[in-house]
């Protein structure tokens, strides 16, 4: 192992002009919306005044329904059959985002299933990480190391709500009383 610790390059805001660069056809459809097992993951990104953020862009990265981490390429040129586990969605003018995906399974027996999320936006100087936990398995959610380290209100903010049509609803609040808990991983210095 090399002795030297390299210092990470600083991040910068994604700015307002990513529109021709980051979005691509099929970016938010990890599976086709018409697929039998497709579920919608949807929400709104809000700023500290409760105003929707129209220029945020989100990415998700998740295992498949069996909890398997996909090693398949093809996220940028979807064939409609290969599950790559990665998706990207730019918010619309009302701050709404929507992914078509599958409900992820736990990567290990008894673990809480979640979708990893990274948030970029104009006005946000560095990316933010969070997790969308899947509601339902109370025992696994109770045993989750991150969730059990949070107070009940923050814990609830990381668990998606299942709507009547099956949609997983998850709003992101960048600032304020209801602020979404954002994550710092080992090695992060921001």
């Amino acid at each position: 192992m090399p002795e030297t610790e390299y210092t990470a390059t600083p991040g910068q805001t994604v700015g307002p002009f990513y529109g021709y660069a980051l979005p691509y056809p099929g970016d938010s459809a990890l599976v086709p919306p018409a697929a039998a097992d497709a579920v919608q993951l949807a929400g709104v990104v809000y700023d500290g005044a409760g105003v929707p953020v129209p220029d945020a862009i989100l990415e998700i990265w998740q295992p498949d329904e069996t909890g398997t981490v996909s090693r398949e390429t093809g996220s940028l040129r979807r064939d409609g059959f290969t599950f790559t586990g990665f998706g990207r969605a730019a918010c619309d003018p009302e701050g709404r985002f929507s992914f078509s995906t599958v409900v992820p399974g736990p990567t290990e027996e008894g673990k809480a299933a979640f979708i990893s999320v990274v948030v970029f936006a104009r006005g946000l100087l560095n990316r933010l990480f969070t997790r969308v936990y899947i509601p339902g398995d109370a025992e696994a959610l109770a045993a989750d190391p991150l969730l059990s380290s949070l107070d009940p209100a923050d814990r609830d903010r990381l668990i998606a709500t299942r709507e009547a049509d099956g949609t997983l609803r998850f709003d992101i609040r960048l600032q304020g009383e209801d602020e979404t808990p954002f994550l710092r991983f080992p090695g992060h210095t921001d």
């Binding site: 021709y20 990265w61 390429t73 710092r184 210095t189």
Partner: protein, 266 residues
């Protein structure tokens, strides 16, 4: 259609002097704190008031220390099916040559232990040589170049290397304050071997006179940390009668999974 200065009710009123005073105050406070033993900062501040758009868009609660779980210890896989081989040359995407100073930007993507990040996606976007983006929201009255989209993608090589051929972007005005101009930059989007290494940043050009005036660049309070975003002019990359060369290496945060696997091997 002739170029015309846009003016309207949303014109930013604050002066550069006001902004510069705020930037300088935060900078000297930071240097004083470091001199008194505070840790060196290596990333931008999320809460940086001189960048006015950040005021309502930064978290006010501490980020939660979290150990990455299985999915976060992997990154999405990208391959040659994802990207056309010509996507790393931004000068050949339309019918003709874009106008401007042809450049090559090349370097390596490394992890926090200095190991190359191989076979990963690098995406870039930038303004044209006149400082205009192809984007409806960019209403800067500078010409659009029909031969330049300013968008590129590539995969890193086995040694973590990437290379883009493009046009040197121009500086452009924005509405943070009156007479605000962004230093010329190229946006970079990077993946590591783990999703926790995901990052987006901006690469700048050496010696830009706008550095001291720009709240986005100055949101990184540490001089050495800011320098990590500035490419180096490299005459060995420059090509005879063809283009100017810049080198820029990118270091992602440490990689936990490979670290643990190597520990297991030891």
């Amino acid at each position: 259609m002739s170029a015309q200065k846009l003016s309207g009710p949303d014109d930013a009123a604050e002066s550069q002097a006001t902004l510069s005073a705020e930037i300088n105050a935060i900078g000297s406070e930071y240097r004083g704190a470091v001199a008194a033993g505070a840790p060196v900062e290596t990333q931008p501040r999320l809460d940086y008031p001189p960048y006015r758009s950040s005021l309502l868009r930064h978290p006010t609660k501490d980020l939660r220390h979290t150990d990455p779980e299985t999915i976060e210890l992997y990154s999405p896989a990208f391959g040659h099916r994802d990207i056309g081989t010509l996507e790393s040359d931004l000068t050949i995407q339309a019918g003709g040559e874009p106008i401007g100073e042809r450049i090559r930007v090349t370097g390596r993507v490394l992890d926090g232990q200095g190991r190359p990040v191989a076979g990963q996606l690098v995406e870039i976007w930038q303004a044209n040589s006149a400082g205009r983006y192809i984007h409806k929201r960019d209403q800067h009255p500078a010409p659009i170049d029909p031969n330049f989209t300013g968008v590129g993608r590539t995969l890193t090589g086995p040694d973590g290397s990437y290379s883009f051929t493009t046009i040197k972007p121009g500086p452009y005005p924005w509405k943070n304050h009156h007479n605000a101009w962004r230093p010329a930059h190229i946006h970079f989007s990077l993946f590591g071997t783990e999703f926790t290494q995901r990052m987006v940043t901006q690469m700048y050009f050496p010696g830009d006179p706008l550095f001291a005036l720009d709240p986005i660049f100055q949101s990184i309070t540490d001089d050495k940390a800011r320098e990590r975003l500035v490419a180096t002019y490299d005459h060995d990359i420059t090509e005879h009668e063809f283009l100017m060369g810049y080198s820029w290496d990118i270091v992602l945060t440490g990689a936990e999974r490979t670290w643990m696997e190597e520990d297991d091997d030891a």
